[in-house]
């Protein structure tokens, strides 16, 4: 029997018991729809993150005190870490491929303005960092210069904390040292929103204002801008070797971390990838149940058409042909379910995007879903098809 004949037979039998066929397909539709919707959200998030990362470029790296484990566990602001020294900063600057180095200190300072006092997170950095890493935009004024006790405030800090709004040109006190506000940031959003409540000042000024609590000029973070064309990973390795040397440390006892752009994207992607797998896996449970539904329907189908099968065999159909017939039928149930499920998943993804949840359905997701649904259909039909193919023609013809 030609393959086309078998397909036609499959279709006609499905059409005979429409309600049953549709209910069976519905199970697969829901399963595939769930998988596509969930995985598309995961992919959307991944793409959103990658876009943000790419905007940062690839010509930079960051050195932070604290070993990799301590960085990923608790916040390094709270831990006890060996900061980076001025010598180490100079050493990093001298490594081939490094264009310029910026040292940073993070700490809290007391802030006073128009009679009110508070605590603020302060970030002291080498001037020029905002041109090298243009994440922040100014609403008014300019960025600070070194050694002049100048400060730039985040938008929330300037506008919402004190009874009076702080303006460019005002004087404030940080740790009882007078600073002049030379600029105020625009409200930042997304990844940079934390800057809204921060005071930015020169690292040397900050170190002096912190007084006796911090001794020498030391850094909580060093950012390095690389020369165009240099390989961030290679430069990173060179820095690691140099600093390990200076600190007399080995690979295992290394207590600082060099973060390259690739490192960040890889970590983020692997976290999201795992999330995707978990969500997809859970949704796949419903697909398994859908497959059980197909198996059920196919067993029913075989039983009902026992005489039909007997007739087919009597006029010359081989066992193989019978098996093919039923596997095609169950595979078709799978494909139709997969197709509709993908459509529903696309719809959900579209709606999600309207609501601001990033969601991306790409071709590989759809093709995987279609293949998967076809496979589920075929596998579910395997046992019923075998049973059908093994029917004795004489017995089958006699079946009531």
């Amino acid at each position: 029997m030609g393959h086309l004949d078998l397909v036609n037979l499959a279709f006609s039998s499905m059409r005979r018991k429409q309600l049953r066929t549709w209910l069976t397909v519905l199970g697969i539709v829901i399963g595939i729809g769930a998988i596509v919707s969930l995985v598309s959200i995961g992919q959307g998030l991944q793409e959103y993150l990658n876009q943000q990362m790419n905007a940062l470029g690839t010509d930079y790296l960051i050195v932070q005190p604290g070993s990799l484990q301590s960085l990923t566990s608790s916040s390094s602001v709270m831990g006890a870490v060996k900061p980076l020294s001025e010598n180490e900063r100079k050493a990093i600057e001298s490594i081939g491929g490094v264009a310029k180095v910026y040292g940073e200190i993070d700490d809290t300072m007391s802030i006073e303005f128009s009679g009110q006092q508070g605590r603020v997170l302060a970030v002291g950095d080498t001037p020029g960092i905002f041109e090298a890493f243009p994440f922040y935009t100014l609403a008014s004024g300019r960025f600070y210069t070194a050694g002049s006790n100048e400060v730039v405030l985040g938008s929330d800090l300037a506008n919402n904390v004190f009874k009076k709004k702080v303006r460019t040109g005002d004087a404030i006190k940080l740790n009882n040292v007078t600073f002049r506000v030379v600029g105020i940031l625009e409200e930042q959003s997304g990844l940079y929103a934390s800057a809204n409540s921060v005071a930015l000042l020169d690292v040397g000024d900050m170190s002096r204002a912190l007084g006796t609590s911090r001794v020498a000029l030391e850094y909580d973070q060093i950012s390095a801008k690389l020369q165009p064309g240099s390989d961030a990973d290679a430069v990173g390795t060179a820095i690691e070797e140099r600093l390990r040397n200076m600190r007399h440390e080995t690979n295992d006892t290394q207590d600082f971390t060099v973060i390259t752009p690739a490192f960040i994207t890889n970590t983020a992607n692997s976290i999201l990838g795992t999330l995707n797998l978990v969500l997809g896996g859970l949704a796949a449970i419903s697909l398994v149940v859908g497959g059980i539904g197909i198996a059920n329907t196919m067993f029913m189908s075989v039983m009902e058409r026992t005489r039909e099968i007997g007739t087919l065999k009597a006029i010359g159909a081989t066992d193989r042909a019978i098996m093919e017939l039923f596997i095609i039928e169950s595979g078709l149930l799978g494909i139709v379910g997969g197709l509709l499920g993908c459509l529903i998943g696309l719809g959900v993804s579209f709606v999600m995007n309207q609501f601001g949840v990033p969601s991306k359905v790409d071709l590989s997701l759809v093709s995987y879903a279609m293949l998967f649904s076809f496979a589920v259909g075929m596998v579910s039909g395997l046992f019923p098809a075998r049973r059908a193919s093994q029917l004795e023609p004489v017995e089958a013809l006699r079946y009531e």
């Binding site: 006796t212 609590s213 911090r214 059980i292 539904g293 059920n296």
Partner: protein
């Protein structure tokens, strides 16, 4: 027809098509097992966290600067990052007299450079009045040496991480360290903290007086970063917390809308954590519940087929006097039974998975409520799935039914 007869009839119909019944049930089994396993993990995580938190007791309140609307925990990280007008010793004094308050302690925090034998690190430095160790001993357990006393000067207690891991040689009790430009003697080393308000492992604690000298005039002398309140035994911490909030609003001249401080009780913190874990496990459980929906469709499918096959039977039953109601009852019992059996087997498998996860180190907790919920859920899913088919059967015209093929 009596209910028992109807039930018997339903059972015999199911046994008539055994394979079909089992496959239908299998769908529910998979879904219920997944839900039971997932939610048991959620509950396990919740009870683990609660256990950690309640070891601290619940008779304390923390007050920190910062708006209560912003996300924050109870620990130091939350107030170090906040921008706000600071708390002062005035605030602490103002609440000492509030009913139910046993003791009020103030804490200042900053970061400092700690040198030991020529090497140095940056670490958190906390200044507190020594009375805090009496009232909050559970948070500040030492494994060597002692805590600070009121007569102490230029002495510190350091965290185990600083003592053991931060320098080439370990720091032991009695040794001197340098903070800023001043020398302090180590009189105690903290034990590992677990889920405490303070991560004492990487902290240096000195007396409030020493801390003020350490800060110099970088901060006003009456500045305070956190106020810890111990409540009287028997007092309700939440009631006391409310009283404190009102009193502080008065003293700081703020009202509910612009409240610039946060009052947290152990229970409010726990309930925040519990809400988060509950939401996550509900979300995961919800995804697993999609499987139940598909299983329910399977039941509906089976029931429709069942009705079609037994059309003549239904006609006969109606002919001998069965009411529409009885017919509906038959099929609802049948679909409910499918759900019930699926639920029971699913619960058994799900519980097995949960126990297996436990032995692998993943916290998973089975509660009677979870199992009861799963059982009811499966029965209801079954009956709901069977609703339309049952209605279809009930509305068959006896004459037409009897003449069906």
């Amino acid at each position: 027809m009596s209910h028992l007869d109807l039930a018997h009839y339903a059972l015999s119909a199911m046994r008539h098509r055994e394979l079909r019944s089992w496959l239908t049930v299998l769908g529910i089994v998979v879904g219920i097992a997944a839900i039971v396993a997932l939610i048991s993990v959620g509950q396990g995580v919740q009870s683990y966290i609660n256990g950690q938190l309640s070891s601290l007791g619940s008779d304390f309140i923390t007050i920190s600067a910062g708006s209560p609307k912003s996300a924050g925990g109870m620990g130091m990280g939350s107030f170090m990052a906040a921008t706000s007008t600071a708390l002062t010793t005035n605030d602490a004094d103002a609440i000492r007299g509030v009913g139910g308050v046993k003791a009020v302690h103030t804490v200042v925090a900053l970061r400092g450079d700690l040198s030991y034998r020529g090497d140095n690190i940056t670490t958190s430095v906390v200044g507190a009045d020594p009375g805090i160790f009496d009232d909050f001993g559970a948070m500040f357990k030492v494994r060597e040496g002692r805590v600070l006393s009121t007569s102490d000067s230029h002495t510190v207690v350091i965290g185990n991480q600083i003592a053991d891991d931060s320098f080439k040689t370990k720091i032991t009790v009695g040794r001197p360290i340098e903070l800023g430009n001043t020398t302090y003697r180590v009189v105690g080393i903290f034990d590992t903290s677990s889920g405490s308000v303070f991560s004492t492992g990487s902290m240096v604690v000195m007396t409030a007086a020493d801390a003020r000298a350490f800060m110099g005039n970088s901060r006003p002398p009456n500045a305070v970063d956190m106020i810890l309140v111990k409540t009287q035994p028997g007092a309700n911490p939440d009631d006391v917390a409310n009283e404190l909030t009102l009193r502080l609003r008065n003293v700081r001249h703020v009202n509910e809308d612009n409240q610039d401080f946060r009052v947290s009780t152990a229970s409010s913190f726990m309930s925040r954590i519990n809400t988060i874990t509950a939401v996550v496990s509900l979300f995961l459980g919800g995804i697993a519940a999609i499987a139940i929906i598909v299983g329910g469709i399977g039941i509906a499918n089976t029931m429709f087929m069942s009705v079609t096959e037994r059309t003549r039977e239904i006609g006969v039953m109606k002919a001998v006097g069965a009411k529409e109601r009885d017919i509906m009852e038959v099929f609802l019992i049948e679909s409910g039974l499918l759900g019930l059996i699926g639920g029971v087997v699913g619960i058994i498998i799900g519980s097995g998975l949960s126990i297996a996860l436990n032995s692998l180190g993943v916290p998973a907790l089975l509660t009677p409520q979870l199992l009861l919920f799963a059982l009811v859920f499966s029965i209801v899913s079954g009956m709901l799935s069977g609703l339309f088919p049952a209605q279809l059967a009930a509305r068959l015209e006896p004459v037409t039914a009897l003449s069906a093929e």
